[in-house]
Symmetry: C2
Subunit: 110 residues, 2 copies
DNA sequence: ACGGTATACATCATATCACGAAGTATCAAT
DNA sequence: ATTGATACTTCGTGATATGATGTATACCGT
């Protein structure tokens, strides 16, 4: 829950995309849905949503809900492609993890 | 090999620390040792080494080798602690990975 | 009626950081 | 003599997470 900021960076985009992969979602809901996995503030989320929109990974649709504005985000094919790429990157990350955690071979550990 | 820049960010520090966990190392060697796992330029590495030194995760010792300057880096207890923390963070990352890759439940996939 | 909390989105300033570019210098091999 | 490998340094830039702050409505308890 208190993950290193830098580690989060690479995961945020795909997490946000994953939050809308089954059905369109909106800012407030995305934050709450992701809470069990990764914490992100409103300013962070809306920055990400804007970036993903610019990258054509999602489309936006504004609705009125209970007199309040609500913007629904819809993942595009490019967005799903990004999620697939993440799976490939994950394999590389596993190799890195193994390198980092490989058994210590210092003299003193004989 | 062509991992997303943001994803790399969280891994670079621990990779550099891991590169010197068995024996002290120096810039040029670290870059080559990490090459099979993660690519990083000289400017990136030396920035990281400086940062890790400031954070007391490593100490530096300058030596002369074949008439050339060579700076050996030695991981500290704090550096090893950072690597342990990474293992904890990795567990969180696995949960995130599972969330992202969880089977699609869209209508069309019935 | 009032206050607090939840819902919902937007913008700005700041700090961190990876990286290319360019530089300095030595040594080995062709 | 030239090229490539070794080895470290500094600068500028662009990307980006986040706190702070602001706007606005709905709901619930007292």
């Amino acid at each position: 829950m208190m993950m290193d900021v830098q580690l989060k960076r690479g995961l945020l985009d795909v997490c946000v995309l994953a939050a809308m992969k089954n059905e369109d979602s909106y800012g407030y809901k995305i934050i709450n849905d992701l809470k069990p996995y990764i914490a992100l503030s409103e300013s962070t989320l809306y920055t990400i949503l804007k970036r993903l929109e610019t990258a054509d990974m999602l489309t936006v649709r504004t609705c009125e809900h209970d007199g309040r504005l609500r913007k629904y985000y819809h993942i595009t094919a490019a967005g799903r492609k990004r999620m697939e790429e993440f799976k490939t990157e994950w394999k590389e990350m596993i190799l890195i993890y193994q390198f980092v955690t490989k058994e210590d071979e210092r003299e003193e550990s004989r």
